[in-house]
Structure formats: C-alpha cells, structure tokens
C-alpha cells in the first residue's frame, strides 16, 4: 500500500468519524524568532540565575490560532513597561556578567515572555493541539515570574505585575484545556 493510499484511507476514516466535512482552512504558522533571539547564552543565564518556565498545555477545541496570537500580543504589551525595562544583567552576587562571545554585558528585562510554540509531542500524545509557552526570568524577576504564574492578580505586589497576572488568568481560563504541565529549566544545573 502506498503512502498516498494510506493517507487517503486515514483521512476518510477521520472525516467519517467526525461526521462532518470541515470548511477548508489554512492557517499560517508563526515562527517565534523571539524564542531563539531573546534567551541569552547558557553561561550568562547560569551566572545570572536565569530560569525558564515552560508550560505545556492543550488548546481548547474552539480556540483559534488567531485568538492565541491576540493573547500573545496583549501579554507581551503588559510586560513592556518601564519597571521591566532591559537592564545590564548581573550575577547572583551583584557583579556584572560579560558574555564570553561578544565581550559585552547583555541587557535583558528581568521578566521576559519568550513565546508560545507548537509542542513536539510523541505520536502517543492524545489528539488535539498542544503548545508550549515559555517565560524567562533573572534576578528579582524570578519572584515576579512565580507570582504572576501562580497567584491571584489582586494579591500581587508591585502593582505593575497585576495586569500581567491577569493575562495569565485569561490564558488559563479562556484558552487552556485543563491544567498546564510545568517544567522549570535552570541552566545552572548540569545536564
């Protein structure tokens, strides 16, 4: 049996099981250059105590990619405030960090949103759309990140974090199906 025949049989079975013929649809997949471009080199991340929090989550069936992208824009806008402006990264002891490759001290916001990307799951994953949302934080940003991801917005100080936390609540309540799978990547730990 050829690949084409196998694919056609699969698609017929899928359409029969759904009992409906969906409107034809094409959706552009946005490639998140932010993810690669905004994460500093591992040595710098480790020296600054940088962590990346990854939420792996399933999209509610009725939610479209456009809605996720609108959420992303709103979330990124809330992070783009003066209190979270990029500043030279410092080590845990307060000393400056020099990027070994460029010889410069990287400037980063303490709390960063790195993007939401399609998750590569195994073929044994349940059907449905699964994505991963990544945030990074260093210095005081680690406490900020913990707060916006886990606490009710109106309980968070400083107040400028509250709108960010509200966008997280929107993500959880309107876009997410169930609870996220949380992974914390600490680059200071050995592989």
């Amino acid at each position: 049996m050829s690949n084409r025949t196998r694919t056609l049989l699969y698609l017929r079975a899928l359409i029969d099981a759904d009992r409906t013929l969906d409107e034809p649809r094409l959706e552009p997949v946005r490639l998140h250059v932010r993810t690669a471009g905004s994460i500093p080199p591992k040595a710098v991340m480790a020296a600054a105590g940088y962590i990346v929090v990854v939420w792996t989550w399933r999209i509610k069936p009725e939610v479209t990619r456009t809605e996720i992208e609108q959420w992303e824009l709103g979330h990124a806008a809330e992070l783009n405030v003066a209190e979270n402006a990029a500043q030279p990264m410092t080590g845990i002891g307060g000393a400056g960090i020099t990027d070994a490759e460029t010889g410069t001290v990287p400037s980063r916001p303490m709390l960063a949103y790195h993007g939401t990307v399609l998750a590569r799951r195994s073929v044994f994953a349940p059907p449905g759309r699964t994505v991963q949302t990544l945030w990074g934080a260093w210095g005081e940003g680690r406490q900020w990140l913990e707060a916006v991801l886990s606490r009710a917005p109106d309980t968070i100080q400083p107040e400028w974090l509250q709108p960010i936390a509200r966008t997280i609540v929107t993500l959880r309540s309107e876009l997410m199906d169930g609870e996220p799978e949380v992974t914390v990547i600490d680059p200071s730990l050995p592989l």
């Binding site: 056609l8 899928l14 359409i15 013929l21 094409l26 552009p28 997949v29 994953a125």
Partner: protein, 99 residues
C-alpha cells in the same frame, strides 16, 4: 475559476508533513518561506492533487467524503479549498494544453 481540464499537483519544493495524531498537516513552501497548517479538508485535497484534472479531483473528493457531504457540497468545498491551496503556493495549477 478553474477549468475541468486544469491539472493540480504539489508545487515544486513544497514539503507536506502529516501530523495524524493532530488531524493536521503542515506545508513548507520554500519559494515564499512559510509554514502553513492544513486542516483535515485541505490536507485531503492536497493529498489528492497528484497531477489529476479538476474533473478527476471532483470525483475522487466526492467519493472520499460521500458519507458526510452530497456531491454539490463536496464540489463547492473542493473548489474553495483548491483556491486556497493554489493561492498559498502549496498546489500548482497547470492549464491543460490538449485541444
């Protein structure tokens, strides 16, 4: 508008990557670098486009979806999906030169 004798096939260089566990496929179009998600219907149409004429596609598509759509609905859906795939550069149309 397409003619019944127009032929449709995957555009040169396009990579179609099925993701059966999601009921989706992804197409990479190198000429206009982009990654596009195809739902089940557009994935089916793209799979059928192996150089077949529009008339052949109409017949094959109607047969594939006969349990869920009548001939007219299937033809309309096929035409809309084909137009989208051609516009996105995933499928290429060749006008049949035969008399």
């Amino acid at each position: 508008m397409f003619c019944p004798t127009d032929r449709f096939e995957r555009a040169a260089g396009v990579v179609l990557r099925p993701m059966p566990e999601w009921g989706r496929a992804y197409a990479y179009t190198p000429r206009r670098p982009a990654l596009t998600e195809l739902n089940t219907t557009t994935w089916l149409i793209a799979t059928l486009c192996d150089g077949a004429t529009l008339a052949e596609l109409e017949e094959e598509f109607a047969d594939a979806v006969r349990r869920v759509a009548g001939d007219n609905a299937a033809r309309d859906t096929l035409h809309r999906g084909l137009a989208m795939l051609v516009e996105a550069g995933i499928i290429a149309r060749t006008e049949d030169a035969a008399p």
